[in-house]
């Protein structure tokens, strides 16, 4: 086990100690102990930048299940490291923030930090695992820990609802992903991502290529809240705000983006990959920003904005695949899409993290997040206001913040579709920049809403549950750090270009890098009048216009009834599937043994007859049959007639007697066919069982003793005839298809020589096949004991209930 493995597992290893610390050290907030873990890990992973920026990778393997090809292979390259730094860096800030956000006396911090550390370790495992099964394991662990964190305030109904919703959706995606992983393994023969990339041509040629791709993408889309799976994210806002900031803006929802980026080298040859990702990403971008505008809850706005921004990054990752098909000069103009994706991923983590923390502060200091109650907080909370403005403007894509740079690059990448002459991108692909433009306008509007409705306008402090004041300094530090990063990355973006972005982009284009194409990341270039700059100006102009006329067109949001919205459909499908399952169950699980017997009989006959028909086994031959003696006819008639007569008896006593007749006749058959031992046993057993039937009959309640004869039911008659015919067919078939001779010759020859007996049946019973006899003796013993205990139990019940009650009798 290497240091790298210990680093990945450190949060998981630290988690068990947290509850003890929480109990033992009451004076110090538990968060301070937890803070050590991400801070240490951030410092540790920071040192890897030197290695990956030179194009190097670090691989460490721990054998876990080598026989199944499942080993914990930690693999650090540019992409993995970028995510690891995001996870640990923002993790540290979130823990610091949570120390001030969560009260140590009122909240069960032991639980909170255990879940958070579980999540952190799981997330590190996802981004640093080369083995896909191990990655899947960590992937599900993120789902579970996210479920626990969303339901942290479990006494609230909305929290439980949100937790369940996110669990159902992300686990659905996770399981689909597992299916994709298994398909990929069946093609390549290895669970290692690097092996899959190396055998990429095998995968592309395989018939399972498209199913595998779609299954993997289902996992990525559900986790990254892409349309139509985005609905869990707004409901996950019931979690404590540090959780929303960490999981639902900066890290977990980016796991899907990570997966898409990671699997790009495997799939991006295909046009389907580009089209699925770009269309879903672009539509998510539009849908998220469109819906964010109507939200009245600050966290709701941020949730939809996260959905929208994730769609943006997703569509960029899809567009980046075009770079593979561009065989132009050295400066591959489509690489800009992937560079923009990675850059915006970092930017989004910074500004969205700070915005969530800002909302948390507002919530914490005023007691509400509803923008209809807030307003005029600018003078009361100046620092928070500054953070909000920086974050919002960066999100809107305005200079001089980092969001501007990545938004410009995004627009540049979308306008590049004009110069793509493959995959039909130059026709229907022209929609992409149009949708991107509209979405950006909405993004601009909700970004303005966030800080104008909260901090500007008329103060209405009497509506607030608390008297607002500026937050404590500790709560302001983490969002301030992120806001400073937003500004710094806006002014000097090139600190990232060679350290983080270029290595990450290179791991998305391994084939291009090997082919000699250089990935050049130059983020300085934001001067000059380019189409994207004009688009930005257009966005600002149109956005401002629409923002001031907001009240005039807000009505369009109420046009769609709830039932037809995605949330309505989700709720409806839950209710419907529940109802349908209940109805189905109630219909076939009637509780009557006769229904179940009919299922069994019909199924048995159906299967047997079908398979006999399928294999064409109805050609019976009667050549091997012995001749039937006349007295056998007569006895057969006796058996058939008495068995038939049982059905028509008026009461039960004659039926029992007739059953005795059948038994004795069978004994006579044994005599005819020269089986004296069987005949003896049959006679005795028949007598005993008839006596037992009489016993049962005696104990029956009066009302059912008088019952008239069995009622005739057509269905039952059909089923019984069917079963009889089936069994008859089956016996004819077996008799006429005998292929092997009997082994009884051996017994005949050796019964005296080997076993010293002349009665062959008895020798077989106690000598050749004595084991069967032993266990049949045990069966009898168990039956005897069972009857004894049932009778004992019955008498005690009867005594407590009083005499004369013969309602529930033992059957045997």
């Amino acid at each position: 086990m290497s240091v790298l493995h210990l680093a990945i597992l450190l949060p998981l290893l630290a988690a068990p100690f947290i509850p003890f610390l929480f109990r033992a050290v009451k004076r110090i907030h538990t968060g301070w102990f937890v803070l050590v873990v991400p801070a240490l890990l951030f410092a540790y992973f920071f040192r890897f930048i030197g290695i990956t920026s030179d194009g190097g990778v670090v691989t460490e393997t721990v054998r876990w299940m080598p026989s199944l090809g499942i080993n914990f292979t930690a693999y650090v390259d540019g992409l993995g490291l970028l995510f690891a730094l995001l996870i640990t860096g923002i993790g540290a800030l979130v823990v610091l923030y949570s120390i001030y956000y969560l009260n140590k006396d009122k909240e069960s911090l032991g639980h909170f930090y255990v879940y958070l550390l579980l999540f952190m370790g799981a997330m590190l495992g996802v981004v640093l695992s080369d083995n896909m099964v191990v990655m899947y394991m960590f992937w599900e662990l993120t789902s579970i820990s996210s479920f626990l964190l969303i339901g942290y305030w479990y006494e609230k109904e909305r929290s439980r609802y949100g937790a369940q919703k996110s669990m159902l959706i992300t686990v659905f995606g996770g399981l689909s992903m597992l299916g994709g992983i298994v398909l990929l393994e069946s093609m390549v023969g290895s669970f290692s991502i690097r092996d899959m990339i190396a055998n990429q041509t095998v995968i592309v040629d395989s018939p399972f290529f498209i199913p595998a791709m779609i299954l993997i993408l289902l996992g990525a889309f559900t986790k990254s809240a892409q349309f139509p799976f985005h609905i869990w994210l707004p409901d996950a806002m019931e979690a404590p705000t540090p959780v929303s900031a960490y999981l639902h803006s900066a890290t977990m929802v980016k796991a899907g983006l990570y997966l898409v980026a990671r699997m790009s080298p495997v799939f991006q040859e295909s046009s389907l990959w580009l089209w699925i990702i770009v269309s879903f990403g672009t539509f998510t971008l539009f849908w998220g920003s469109f819906n964010a505008v109507k939200q009245t809850d600050l966290k709701g706005i941020l949730a939809y904005s996260t959905v929208s921004q994730l769609g943006l990054i997703m569509s960029l990752l899809g567009l980046g695949a075009a770079a593979l098909h561009y065989d132009g000069m050295d400066d591959n103009i489509f690489m800009v899409a992937t560079i923009a994706a990675i850059f915006h991923l970092i930017n989004h983590a910074t500004f969205k993290g700070s915005l969530f923390m800002m909302v948390g502060i507002v919530d914490h200091e005023t007691g509400t997040r509803d923008i209809r109650k807030l307003g005029g907080l600018m003078t009361v909370m100046p620092i928070t206001f500054t953070i909000a403005v920086i974050g919002s403007l960066s999100m809107a894509g305005l200079p001089p913040f980092n969001g501007f740079l990545s938004k410009e690059m995004f627009l540049k990448a979308t306008t590049k579709v004009f110069s793509m002459d493959f995959f039909a991108l130059d026709t229907i692909g022209l929609l992409i920049p149009v949708v991107a433009f509209i979405a950006s306008v909405f993004t601009f509007i909700y970004s303005l809403i966030i800080f104008t409705r909260t901090f500007m306008g008329k103060a209405q402090f009497d509506k607030l549950p608390k008297q607002p004041h500026e937050a404590p300094i500790g709560m302001l530090i983490p969002p301030a750090i992120l806001a400073i990063l937003v500004v710094v990355l806006g002014f000097v973006p090139n600190v990232l270009s060679n350290t983080l972005i270029r290595p990450a982009v290179e791991s998305i284009y391994p084939t291009l890098v090997e082919g000699g194409q250089a990935v050049e990341v130059d983020l300085y270039f934001w001067h000059g009048v380019t189409p994207e700059l004009l688009m930005t100006i257009g966005i600002v102009a149109l956005g401002t216009l629409m923002f001031f006329t907001l009240n005039k067109w807000m009505g369009i949001y109420n046009r769609v009834p709830y039932r037809l919205t995605l949330n309505g459909m989700y709720d409806g499908s839950l209710v419907w599937s529940n109802k349908a399952a209940y109805r189905f169950k109630d219909n076939y699980m009637t509780g009557f043994i006769r229904s179940y017997l009919i299922y069994i009989f019909v199924f048995m006959s159906g299967m047997l007859l079908f398979s006999m028909w399928w294999y064409d086994l109805f050609n019976f031959s009667f050549s091997e049959m012995a001749e039937i003696a006349p007295y056998e006819y007569v006895l057969g008639a006796v058996v058939v007639l008495s068995a038939f007569a049982i059905l028509f008896m008026r009461s039960r006593l004659p039926a029992i007697i007739l059953l005795g007749v059948v038994g004795y006749s069978v004994a006579l058959f044994f005599v005819f066919f020269e089986a004296p031992d069987l005949a003896l046993t049959q006679l005795v057993i028949e007598t005993v069982s008839v006596a037992l039937f009489l016993l049962v009959f005696y104990h029956m309640p009066e009302i059912s003793k008088k019952e008239a004869r069995m009622r005739f039911k057509v269905g039952n008659a059909i089923v019984s005839v069917l079963v009889g015919v089936t069994v008859m067919m089956l016996s004819f078939m077996t008799l006429s298809n005998k292929s092997l001779s009997s082994i009884s010759e051996y017994y005949k020859e050796n019964v005296y020589d080997l076993a010293a007996g002349k009665n062959m049946v008895n020798v077989v019973l106690v000598d050749f096949r004595g084991f069967d006899t032993l266990f049949e003796i045990i069966v009898l013993a168990v039956a005897g004991l069972g009857i004894y205990t049932m009778i004992k139990f019955r008498t005690t019940v009867q005594r407590t209930k009083g005499e004369g009650e013969h309602g529930h009798e033992a059957k045997k």
Partner: protein
């Protein structure tokens, strides 16, 4: 075919025919006592059938069957009779105490 065999076949046929009529009585009734007596007669007829078959098959293997049948037919008839008379088969002294 030996004349004895023919004779045995004829006897068998008569006995089985007799069993048929007894069976008719079992099915028809009208009272349970009729049925029980018919069943007892079937048992006796069975004894004869088995004895005739033993001659026919030239074996002594089925002599136990004959003995057993006679015992069982007796026990069975007694059990039925007791059931019809007293409504129970095995009488418990304890039942009186309850």
């Amino acid at each position: 075919m030996h004349w004895l065999d023919i004779l045995i076949y004829i006897s068998l046929a008569i006995l089985l025919l007799a069993m048929f009529f007894m069976l008719y009585r079992v099915v028809k009734g009208p009272t349970t006592a009729d049925r029980v007596i018919a069943l007892d007669s079937i048992g006796i007829a069975l004894i004869s059938v088995v004895a005739l078959l033993s001659i026919l098959l030239d074996t002594t293997m089925f002599f136990e069957v004959i003995l057993l049948l006679s015992i069982l037919a007796f026990i069975g008839t007694v059990a039925f009779s007791k059931f019809l008379e007293r409504g129970e088969i095995i009488h418990h002294d304890r039942d009186n105490d309850l």
